[in-house]
Symmetry: C2
Subunit: 609 residues, 2 copies
């Protein structure tokens, strides 16, 4: 079965629809650009998640030209920080054309880094010992964005250099105002080179998606720009990216973008998608005619406008349930189970999901605080949380402190991948860290920890060292005193040290056990990492062998020093001959027991459906 | 327990931190504004989900002034559409101050609706038979945004009107260029009135949150602006909202905003949050000094910058599982269950969540198309999908058509709340609609429908009219021929018409049934809306009574004409006396049966944990 994606189909239709658009003209200010085939036309869409869709001439190389400006600006921010960069180049749109000089009359500061003057001042901020190493850094950065090794188009570079008198003039004006602090020639040359890097349309798509993905190339996983500077680069593109067409661009298309005179257009919808278009015919503003048309259609057809967004907060709480609705896998004797049904109402589990930010964490805080009066334990399950930013971290730290002060405990599960949370807790909670930042690997362990604490002080038979008597064994509860005596005669007391493997997977099953003291746990694997269940005094284990006669299916290990009563299969079977009424009563109890567990499992399942 | 929210604490600290800022001056161009207490200071945060946090003088009324401009612009868009509105007012930032006239030299069109000239031209676009009704419409619209009835501050209005010579001049200039088409006086007057509407800081927060929530007031649920125009209003705020400070505002703060000379600032982070600040001291640009400071701190502390966004797509698929891992609640005889384990691998369930847009639906498409070769049925569960836009709708329609062409079936469950999806399917699929747009109320019904289709042609005993023989009854399978004969002698054949209630909740339990032909279903409620299970030939029902002797806990109804064998409790019990080995075998089989179901439920649970 070979089915093309409807997205691919759509892009092909879009390409066909826009291809007849032949207005505009190829740039001719340098001879090399004039050689472009005006019909070249490629479209590439790359999601922030790394899906690539492309159609047309997406592997035809051309020079990046002005599209280099935002990327070099990002590198300048990394090299100098925001403040020092802003001293040299402003951030205000000019309403002027791309080649206007637009220096602030008072300070000589270029109005923004997207006009040539601002871009040359920005190139002057790139660090490196020699001109060559400065250019190498730019080339390496661009290659990280594109996910492949890019190179210089020497012919275009020489052509740019031969004709770049206006830009040289700008360089000297900048030197005059001390916005360049040394000989402007190497910086102007660096600027010519950055504009002459060869890319293709797919590169533009991937570079755009890298900005959409907070600076991380979604195909290679490599960070091309520190996340904190992405917003600055996109802000500049949003207000100044399309020359004197910026207001209309944001209004109509609503996707921060940058165009180049070779016919490239790169557009970024933050968090969502990157777009690359290539078509060399330009309009009067110097923007690719088809490039604008494609972006307009994509924005309209795919509802991509930046400001067209549904409310994000409400999806954070994936699911919440009470500890009374859903227990740990600790199997308890009937009385204990009964007690927990009431007690465990003070445990509440919140499964969170997505990216935790201020806005997505706020509903969680609100809900937890509104419920906290009736709770003792709040379990926040972070398994499906992809990321957490500082403001969300602050809210969670404050929540832990507040609930602690109110006598409640907050527990985090599946939090290992969110190292920022741990760091922030450590910093804020300080000496109280290990006591207050309570984490468990999974919800089951967290639930069990809470359940144990709740049970501890309720009754005698929940005490850690309690020993159940045979009359208290769940499966023997419907026997008469005489019948119990008969069974007791068949029981053989056994003791196991903590850590002892009482039952081994694969062994023949010849006995079952009634647990009198301590706890045992069932593990599927020999390494004991995947716990299936834990049993408390009064319960039975290994009883399945009495029904199907199959070999043991799992390992059962003593969690503590343990005392049991063993009943051998052979004895149980002969009981069926001599005292069938007893065997029937035990089987009926087992059926009831299983039915109770099945009903509980179905109740739990209905939470998730 | 009384615990304040950490968010409230934070806002109070922010308020205390900014209160000492006393630079700037109260506007004095009209005497009424000069009367404001310069120390008034309120902050209000309202999430798009409707949580309100406020601190300081949030209920002190003041006049909305220029903050009225984006809201009147929104109403003008609703009244005239985008095209006609754009003919009268542009969308390019000017870099000029708020009171500059800034008409395009050629067309006389004001550059944008945030400068006074543009705002007066916009006021001229508001429909209404009389000046009074035009103002009433503005007031009603503002009230819908604020969620309370707003009124005019008559004193400020008279003061504005008495001193508004410059704005009257602008009105006449606009009339000169035909950007106002009738006497400018009533429109200038309308503009004075819209600026003199009294609001408080909390109103600004709620109005901002209404824009953040696609035009729907999150507290009242009322639509104040059609969703399609929200992006236009926010675009204008983003590029022109803060006068000649717009570029820096977007760069530093990154939240579309609008300020007014009475000291209000309103900022909107689309999909996330609305901010209102009130403090009357203004800077040289005419923006509230503390207002800017508060927005700066909020943006930095809460990571609110518009362009600082993590990737959104990957959270759409909440969970996916195969029909082999998770069956419908249709209880099948052992052989059927066995067959399904293999067959149902061709069913795949995708639980989707959040808002379906192009970018969030794309990963679903990609995953489904990549898996489709091995599948026959794709179930898309939309229960946790909040909304779906047109571009997502197009992708889903295309997916249905493509998979249909490839011989696969797409099924939607829980889709009733997404009426757009249904409308789009109907329009696109046309005559094929009812055949191709296959929906079920829930996953259980969808799974069962697929399972039935898969089983139908596999073996004789899956045929709709198949009759099981007693030797095939699950619970009797371990009996010898002689024992089976003994039990058969106790069985009483019963027939029930389709719809007959075989077991009623609350009745005493005196018998169990072996199902020979047809299906029966278990319902918790008398209205038969909540189905717990459905049984197939070969299975038993009503057997719990044999164990606990309690009254019936649910209703069991014949789905089809049904044939059963009834076994009375009294007969089963006497079997325990006379032929205990038979009773033991049946109970053992029942235990095994229950154990199988319990293991299955636990396997299913592990999918969700």
């Amino acid at each position: 079965m070979k089915t093309t994606s409807p997205i691919q189909d759509y892009l092909e239709q879009l390409h066909a629809r826009c291809a007849p658009e032949k207005s505009g003209a190829v740039a001719t200010y340098i001879p090399e650009l004039a050689k472009a085939d005006p019909d070249w036309f490629g479209i590439c869409l790359v999601t922030a998640g790394g899906s690539v869709y492309e159609v047309g001439d997406t592997r035809q190389e051309f020079t990046i030209q002005s599209i280099s400006k935002p990327f070099v600006y990002g590198l300048a921010l990394e090299d100098n920080g925001r403040e020092a960069t802003l001293e040299r180049v402003g951030v205000e749109p000019t309403g002027d054309a791309f080649n206007s000089i637009s220096l602030d009359p008072g300070t000589g500061r270029p109005r923004n880094p997207m006009i040539n003057a601002g871009a040359i001042a920005t190139a002057g901020l790139i660090e490196g010992k020699t001109p060559a190493s400065r250019f190498r850094r730019i080339l390496e950065t661009f290659s990280a964005y594109a996910g492949r090794e890019l190179g210089l188009d020497e012919t275009v570079y020489r052509s740019e250099s031969d004709t770049g008198h206006r830009n040289r003039a700008i360089g000297h004006m900048l030197r005059n105002f001390d916005k360049l602090t040394s000989d402007p020639a190497p910086t102007t040359d660096l600027y010519f080179k950055q504009c002459s890097i060869a890319v293709h349309c797919r590169d533009l798509g991937v570079m755009a998606a890298t900005l959409a993905n907070r600076g991380v190339n979604p195909l290679t996983g490599r960070q091309a720009l520190r996340g904190e500077y992405v917003e600055s680069v996109l802000s500049i593109m949003g207000t100044c990216g399309m020359y004197d067409y910026a207001g209309e661009w944001l209004y109509n298309i609503g996707i921060p973008a940058k165009s180049g005179v070779a016919g490239g257009v790169l557009a970024v919808l933050p968090g969502q998608i990157g777009i690359g278009v290539f078509s060399p015919r330009l309009d009067a503003h110097g923007n690719s005619v088809r490039g604008i048309r494609v972006c307009e259609e994509l924005s309209r057809n795919l509802d991509l406008h930046l400001f067209n967004r549904a409310a994000t907060g409400k999806a954070t709480i994936r699911l919440q349930f009470s500890g009374a609705d859903f227990n740990s896998c600790h199997v308890r004797a009937a009385a204990e189970g009964q007690d927990l049904r009431e007690l465990a109402k003070v445990i509440q589990v919140y499964q969170l999901q997505g990216h935790l930010t201020f806005v997505t964490t706020e509903p969680v805080l609100r809900d937890v605080l509104a419920s906290a009066a009736a709770l003792r334990y709040v379990i926040l399950d972070l398994k499906r949380v992809f990321s957490l930013n500082e403001s969300a971290g602050h809210l969670l730290v404050a929540l832990v402190e507040k609930l602690q002060a109110a006598g409640r405990t907050v527990i985090f599960t599946h939090s290992e991948h969110l190292s920022l949370l741990r760091r922030m807790m450590k910093k804020k909670l300080n000496g109280e860290f290990s006591r207050l930042f309570r984490t468990f690997l999974d919800n089951d362990l967290a639930l069990e920890w809470c359940e144990q604490r709740l049970l501890e002080h309720t009754r005698h038979d929940h005490a850690a060292n309690y020993k159940a008597k045979p009359a208290e064994y769940d499966l023997l509860q419907s026997l008469t005193a005489g019948e119990l005596k008969t069974v007791q005669a068949l029981l053989k007391p056994r003791s196991f040290k903590r850590g002892h493997k009482i039952i081994r997977a694969g062994d023949a099953a010849r006995e079952m056990f009634f647990l009198a003291r301590g706890t045992v746990s069932v593990y599927l694997d020999a390494e004991q990492t995947h716990r299936l269940a834990t049993f408390s005094p009064g319960t039975a284990f290994g009883e399945m062998a009495f029904l199907d006669g199959a070999p043991r299916s799992a390992n059962i290990v003593a969690d503590t020093d343990v005392e049991c009563d063993e009943l051998r299969l052979a004895d149980f079977n002969s009981l069926g001959e001599t005292q069938p009424a007893i065997k029937i009563k035990i089987l009926e109890k087992l059926c009831l027991n299983l039915t109770g567990k099945l009903r509980k499992a179905n109740r739990e399942l209905s939470l998730f459906k």
